[in-house]
Structure formats: C-alpha cells, structure tokens
C-alpha cells in the first residue's frame, strides 16, 4: 500500500517535472543575485512566462555544469573568456544575436569583440573590474598602485584578504609585474608565484565568501574585490572603504546573456534578452546590480554617476581576462597550488 502510494507520488512528480519543460517557461542560470527581482516579476506579468532562477558564484561552476550535460537551462550569463570557451566547445546556441532588438542597444565598443566576433551567441549585460578595496578606518595610505596590496607595508601585516580561486588574483599580479595574461612562459609565472609567496605572510585569508562584512567591518584592512560590490557596500551600508585605482591597471570582466545548447525555450530566452536591454529595464537593472551597463540607459533615472560612484568609472587602464590555453591554465593552477600547498 505504502509502496504503491510512493510509486504513484513519484510518477506524479515525474509527470509534473516533464510538464515544467513545456511552453511558457524560462529557466535562468545566472550569477547569484545578478538580476533585479522586480524585472523578473515584470517579465512574468508582461509575457505570462513562468521564470525560475538558479545562481552560481563562479564561471567555472557554470562551465562545469554545462560540460557535465546540465539540461533544462534556457539562459546563462558567462564572462567574456568563458563565452569564448563555451562557443569553442559548442556549448552555446547560435541565436543570431545581432538580429535581436537588444543588439541595437549595445554600445558599439562592445560589439564584435574577440569573445564573440560575429555577435551570433551573446548580448552583454554588465561589465566592471576586479581590484582591491581598503578600509579607511584601518589604512590611511595611498592606494594608487598594486604594490600597496602585493608588497604590503607593516601597517597591513595580517590584514589582507584575497579570493579563494586564482582567476582574477593572478591576473592582477600579472598586471603589477608586467607579465601578459595567459602567459605560457614558466619563468614569468614563477615571478608571479614569488610575488604571491612573499605576500602570503601578510595575508589573513584566501576566501571569496562574505567579503562585505570582512572589509566593511574591518576584519581585514584590504580585500581583493569587485568594483560594484565595493561601491554598494560603501553607498548602502555606509562602510568607510575605498576601491583602489592602481596605476598598473584593473582586471576587467563583462558578463553576457547567452543560450546554452539544446535549451527548450529559446524564444522565451530571446524575448528576455530583448526585455533586459530596453533603456527603461536596463536602468532598473543598473540601479539594482550596481555594475556598469554595456547597453544604453535612461540617464535621467540612472542612480550611479562618476560623482557618487567613482568605482564604476575607472581612471586607469582596464585589461580583460582572456581564455587561456591549457598550458597557460596549468601554470596558473600550479602557481595557486604551490602558493597554498
């Protein structure tokens, strides 16, 4: 009896989950908390489409999941170098992005870039930089160079935190040392390792979680971080922090909306991309997310300006992370493993 009930219940569940693949659905797999909830609600109201949202915290999570054959997602949000990898690996659907209304809203400087030369696969939705933030209650010195962070003075001993994975951190060290991104030269990468090893005694933690509290509350005095997050913690929580503008440059990223291969609701996904890119909605998104927008905004309503959010308007050069060859990636992993061995 109970067994029968259980079987029936499972059958019913299976039937339900199959129905969930049908028309009128849109399944997003995007950076955690990256799209304004009110836009999701609005899209559902306007189109009658039921939207579900899953979040991830690193490009690697997304790539790994798609490679492992995750199905059921209609829209993903990879950064530029992962757009490139996913296109090359055949993981994205050709949606002829240049023909979408959204494409007309994209700032021409973001069109036809190396990660999607023909604009077939992706529409950018947000961009920004990775650098470091200092807590001004703890550290009063200048923040015009990566040397403050990578070769810290006594004042910052034991008060520095980095991310728990190498992607942007190694990029920043490369900018500081003048080593090209994705270097396949072991000598150059050895220099990166030496720099990080020498910094390690001053490092309190290598962790990517809970950064707001750690730097805002003064648990550490300097933290590797992103522009928009730093800005929001300063503006919304009143934290006395400053996002550095190191003269050697910042590590750039740009996230795009793209459709994974085999998605069930491609038309809904395209409709959502167009929806996100109208000036009105893009501005709502900008005000929520706090990262720069590659599509045109309604400047009368846009909350962040160079005056109140200097974090978003870098005054130094920005170098975008590349899709590294396996040889170069191995060197990055080697640096990181030896650093933390």
């Amino acid at each position: 009896m109970t067994l029968k009930t259980t079987l029936l219940a499972s059958a019913a569940l299976l039937a339900l989950s199959t129905a969930a693949r049908a028309e009128g659905e849109l399944h997003l797999y995007i950076w955690s908390d990256s799209i304004a909830p009110e836009l999701i609600t609005k899209f559902e109201a306007e189109t009658g489409t039921k939207v579900t949202v899953d979040g991830y915290n690193s490009n690697e999570d997304l790539l790994t999941k798609l490679q492992a054959g995750a199905t059921g997602y209609d829209l993903v949000m990879p950064s530029q170098h992962f757009v490139r990898i996913m296109i090359d690996q055949g993981l994205l659907e050709d949606i002829d992005a240049a023909s979408l209304a959204a494409f007309q809203q994209v700032d021409p400087k973001w069109r036809g870039q190396w990660w999607d030369e023909t604009n077939d696969y992706s529409i950018p939705v947000a961009y920004g930089t990775a650098g470091y933030t200092v807590n001004r209650d703890q550290y009063k010195g200048a923040v015009d160079s990566w040397s403050v962070f990578f070769e810290p003075s006594a004042e910052l001993q034991g008060k520095i935190a980095l991310l728990s994975y190498p992607d942007e951190v190694v990029g920043a060290a490369q900018l500081y040392l003048g080593v090209p991104f994705c270097s396949e030269n072991p000598d150059e990468m050895k220099k990166v390792l030496d720099l990080l090893m020498a910094q390690k005694p001053s490092v309190a933690a290598y962790t990517s979680d809970n950064i707001e509290n750690r730097i805002g509350g003064g648990e550490v005095a300097a933290h590797f971080w992103w522009d928009g997050n730093s800005m929001k913690t300063r503006a919304n929580d009143g934290a006395n922090i400053e996002y550095a503008m190191p003269k050697e440059g910042l590590v750039g990223w740009i996230d795009s909306l793209a459709v994974p291969k085999g998605a069930a609701n491609i038309d809904n996904a395209k409709a959502f991309i167009d929806f996100m890119s109208t000036p009105e909605n893009a501005t709502v998104q900008y005000n929520y997310y706090g990262h720069s927008s590659p599509v045109a905004l309604d400047l009368a309503v846009a909350k962040y300006t160079p005056e109140n959010a200097p974090e978003l308007f870098p005054t130094v050069k920005v170098e975008f992370s590349r899709a590294c060859s396996p040889a170069a990636q191995d060197l990055v992993t080697k640096v990181w493993t030896q650093l933390l061995q």
Binding site: I85, N210, P326, T333, Q341
Partner: protein
C-alpha cells in the same frame, strides 16, 4: 523461498545503491583514467597520467621531478581529521556519560539538544562562528565588557579557529554512538569496581572506557571520514591559506580545468576511507572469531 525473498526483496535498495552510489563511483574511477579536455571535461582514453601527477610534476625548468606537495596536502588532511576525531572523543565521553546518568525525561531532552544543530544548515552554523570569533564578535565583546581587556585581535583565520569549527560540526556524530554504549553501562559494575578498591581513575580506565569503546570507535569513523572531505571550515574559519584534499579536488574540477586529476585525488581519498573502514571491519571480524 525465504532466501529468494532476501535477495529480490532488497531489489529497491540494490537499484538505489547501484544508481546513486556504485555507478557514480565507477564513473569517477573511469574519469580518473581518462585524458583531460582542453577546457575542462575529459576525453575517453586510457591514461595513468593523473596518478603520476600526484607524485611527479613538470618543474619550472621543464623536467619531471618528484613533487611531494600533494602528499603534504594528503598528510595535512589526515592530520586534521585525526586531531578533530581525538578531540571529539575526549569531549564526548564525559558529555555522553553525564547525559546517560540523567533521569529519563532530562535524558531525552539532552539527546534532543545534541541533535538540534542538524536542523540548521551547515553553512549557517559555520557563519555563526564567524560572528563569535570575529572582530567585535561575541568573545571580544564579552572580554571587553568584563573589563579584562580593551580589545583583542581577531581570533579568526588560524588553525585553532578551523579546529573549533570542525569539532563543533562533527561532535554530535561522536556523542550519539558514545551515549548509546554508555547508556547500557551497568552501574553495578562501577560499584563492583569501587568495592574492589579501584579508585576513580582506575574505574574509568578499566571499566568505563572498555565498555564505551565500541561507541567511541563507531563515532571515530563517523567523524574521521567526513573530516577528510571538509571544505567549509578550512576556508571560512581557517582562512584557506593551505589546501586540503576537499579544496584541492574542487580546484581541479573548477578553475584548474583538470577533471581526471581531480577524479584521481578523489579516488585516493576514497581509498583512504576504505582502508580505515576495512581495518576496522577486519579487527571486528577478528574479535568475533576469538569470541
């Protein structure tokens, strides 16, 4: 007839075990012998390279050299798991003994309290320690309030903080089996021990400890095994300054884009767990034979 039922009656269990445990483990083992894909993933090809990589690496000057770094990581993981297990054993015995000596209603309430943390997500429980140990945290505030000090450095991001988190997370897994064996302990045996002029220490060592031993061993396995795969506490409380096997595997599947190597380390980790379990099973088997 009955023997038949014993086999096919367990069919659902076999199916679930097969699909959710045996087959996935088989896949992990297969991947550990595969060739890595350029951008993560893997290609089917027989290769022992991931296992070679655990011991040897291509050095900065391009020659194959012995590289003990992964052995250090494995040793560190075993060490941390062992220390955590020992502390849990030392703490759980008096706690379990105390609970077992309470009246029935109090006992039930105390056991319930021990299991209570399991209802809360592991991440939330570890975050709670951030608030206790951190800057301006519970401990610092308490010390300042008593006037003992005007403020202390953060207690976070060191091995001690990590160990506190690990012991806290896994202690209930130790207390429950120890409690189960201590509860059955016959008070008359302790009285007898005293009657025979054993002092408290001798009674503990010769009577209580041997009788609690099966519980301590069961708890040791329950604590030691998950400790080997710990990821959260080392990063959030320990500061992630040194890799453990769990983080190492995560790195290889993620940013490292080397699934076969990650799978190979996972297989080694699994092998270690199996050695522990088999050693225990063999010892038990031996004891039963002797008896």
């Amino acid at each position: 007839m009955r023997a038949d039922f014993r086999i096919w009656g367990l069919l659902p269990a076999w199916v679930i075990m097969g699909f959710t445990l045996i087959i996935p483990i088989g896949i992990v083992i297969a991947v550990s012998f595969a060739a890595r894909g350029a951008y993560g993933g893997f290609d089917w090809a027989l290769s022992g390279e991931p296992y070679v990589q655990i011991l040897y690496q291509v050095g900065w000057t391009d020659e194959l050299e012995f590289n003990p770094q992964y052995l250090y990581i494995i040793a560190r993981t075993l060490w941390l798991a062992a220390i955590t297990t020992l502390i849990c054993m030392a703490v759980s015995l008096p706690v379990a003994y105390y609970i077992a000596r309470q009246p029935r209603a109090v006992k039930a309430a105390l056991v319930y309290l021990v299991t209570l943390p399991f209802w809360v997500s592991m991440i939330v429980r570890v975050y709670a320690w951030l608030m206790i140990l951190g800057n301006d945290g519970v401990i610092e505030k308490a010390l300042v309030a008593t006037g003992l000090t005007s403020g202390i450095d953060s207690l976070l991001f060191n091995d001690g903080a990590m160990l506190v988190g690990m012991v806290y997370s896994y202690l209930p897994l130790m207390i429950l089996p120890v409690f189960a064996s201590v509860e059955k302990l016959d008070g008359a045996l302790i009285e007898a021990s005293h009657d025979l002029y054993a002092n408290r220490w001798v009674t503990l060592r010769r009577v209580i400890l041997p009788l609690a031993w099966p519980g301590l061993m069961a708890g040791a396995i329950l604590v030691f095994v998950p400790c080997l795969g710990a990821v959260l506490e080392p990063i959030l409380l320990g500061g992630g300054k040194q890799l453990l096997m769990g983080n190492l595997i995560q790195t290889q599947f993620g940013g490292g884009r080397n699934w076969p190597f990650g799978a190979a380390i996972a297989v080694v980790l699994m092998g270690l767990v199996m050695i522990v379990l088999m050693a225990r099973a063999l010892r038990d088997g031996g004891r039963h034979d002797a008896a």
